[in-house]
Amino acid sequence: MDLSATTTIRRPVSEVYAFWRRLENLPTFMAHLEEVRTTGERTSHWTASAPFGRTVEWTAEVTEEVPDEKIRWRSTDGADVPNTGAVLFVPAPDGVSTEVHVLLAYDIPGGELGKAVAKYFGEEPHQQLDDDLRRLKQVMETGEVVRSDGAPWGKRARKEFPQRPAMPLSAAELAKGVEA
């Protein structure tokens, strides 16, 4: 399954590139990622959430990096869901913004795991990546993921439809949300 998405961020290319290259930052805006841990100069360990409380883990290596231009990576041998990714950073015509183009490819396996992964992405797999980039833009431009009463938990918003009412949260809801 191939996914692509793009957004324009009103920050310089060097800043957006540096944020992405620090792979630990990816889970702040990518909904499915729980954690990315750098393990070597080019290698990292990724943990993603899957349905029914499962997690999927893999090791990835950066296969190409050109500062302020692009980063490519791929999962190493033995990943449950082999995948590759690339992100390109292009100066926008306005002279101050950066276009971010992301390409992801997943080799979805057969069997239970494959079904679970397919279900996770749902009928509109592109929507998730679009939303991820929207959150990247929020983080880079405003400092954090924007929350509302209807969608109070930032990147988990997608799982919350239909939403809770646009009414302030109770102390119990707040406590539960912080812990979750």
Partner: protein, 391 residues
């Protein structure tokens, strides 16, 4: 706290709900001293805006006192104790749209941008109390409200002006003003305004402030037309006369130079069968909006004129007079108001006495009586032009 909530189509209830808290670092919490019911709230209550949920707190025109600020709000920008008017579009101040002062198109303030994008092609800003399509933010018809990006939107009021004088800077005064500004008014211009509700009245005041020679009010409610006449505008009652003929008479056959639609998606029509056509199509959702005022504005406007739309549309409409629009070189301009752009200059105009926003207030009610306020405003009872609520 007490809050006015949507409880289903045509049902507004005052309920006890939790007090708001800071959710993002750049939030502030405001204790509301005055808030108002807006014509666009009626579109929500009437059920014409999708993604409303039972329990949504309504209201996007409010002001009050800052009682808490998040760690990301610089003290020189806003601090506890400040008296502020809050603009209805939530805007981050940092994205491309905000940099272009297109605050109501802010690219970051709507957490539900994905849904809005499906409906509108591109997302729109978050708006207080205005459905989940615009973010699912609790509104300001309540005792307290959480205000995101509090370092960008809220306007500090440091003078002795009353709440009533400045409250409408939150929406309808800037909205009416933008309607007139989009008309590029020249000193010889005749400006016709469809709708003599609150936004229409302020569009008329603004057209005059910007130098229009003549301003014409079009409505069917005698009390609204009376209010416009008392302010010095020519009036047309579309229940009594044919609007186009009357406009031709008033302009030597040319038609108004500039036309402002301050009505939007729930227009009424002097001709019962045309109104019925749109009403039925809208009821069965074959058409989401009843665009009668817009059609009439386009066909009435002089060739080469400008039609400016500040009445709210939500979806799709039909029988759009594209032929008149295209062949007669009309310019169509529109937008949800970029309130932040206009608050400061309009505050100066209020201070100098150029405009008196209090002239439209007909009812002041305690928050508890909001359902009654919605009722009389919607049904145009008791000469209700504008309801201010006191939490």
């Amino acid at each position: 706290m007490k809050a006015v909530t949507w409880a289903g189509r045509n049902k507004v209830e005052v309920r006890e709900v939790p007090d708001p808290t800071i959710l993002n670092a750049r939030d502030a919490i405001v204790r509301i001293t005055s808030t108002a019911i807006c014509g666009s709230d009626l579109h929500l209550v009437d059920g014409y805006v999708p993604t409303m949920q039972d329990g949504d707190v309504l209201g996007h025109e409010f002001m009050g006192e800052v009682i808490e600020v998040g760690s990301g709000v610089a003290p020189e920008r806003l601090r506890v104790g400040d008296r502020v008017v809050v603009p209805f579009p939530i805007a981050c101040g940092a994205c491309g749209a905000c940099a272009a002062e297109l605050y109501s198109c802010c690219e970051n303030s709507n957490p539900n941008a994905g849904i809005a994008e499906k409906m509108f092609g591109h997302p729109l800003a978050g708006i207080f109390g205005y459905s989940h399509l615009t973010g699912g933010f609790a509104g300001g018809q309540a005792q307290y409200a959480r205000v995101p990006f509090a370092d960008v939107g809220p306007l500090k009021i440091e003078s002795e002006l009353t709440d009533e004088q400045v409250l409408f800077l939150s929406d309808i005064l800037p909205t009416g003003y933008m309607g007139a500004e989009m008309c590029d008014i020249q000193p010889s211009d005749v400006v016709a305004v469809w709708g003599a509700g609150p936004v229409g009245q302020f569009a008329m005041d603004s057209a005059r402030m910007l130098g229009a020679a003549t301003v014409i009010a079009i409505d069917k409610e005698p009390y609204r037309l009376r209010m416009a006449a008392e302010a010095g505008y020519v009036t047309i009652n579309f229940d009594e006369v044919d609007v186009r003929s009357r406009l031709l008479e008033l302009t030597g056959g040319r038609g108004p130079d500039k036309c402002i639609d301050a009505v939007g998606m729930e227009a009424s029509h002097g001709s019962a069968h045309i109104h019925a056509y749109d009403r039925i199509k809208q009821a069965v959702r074959a058409e989401t909006d009843r665009p009668h005022a817009l059609r009439q504005a386009i066909t009435s406007c002089r060739s080469g004129g400008i039609v400016s739309v500040v009445g709210v549309y939500g979806g799709f409409l039909d029988k759009f007079p594209a032929g008149a629009w295209m062949n007669r070189s009309l310019t169509l301009r529109t937008g949800q108001c970029h309130v932040q752009r206009y608050m400061e200059p309009l505050l100066r105009r209020i201070e100098s006495g150029e405009v008196d926003p209090t002239r439209i207030i007909t009812h002041t009610l305690p928050l508890d009586e909001a359902p009654h306020g919605f009722e009389i405003f919607k049904n145009k009872q008791d000469d209700c032009e504008k309801v201010v609520l006191k939490p």
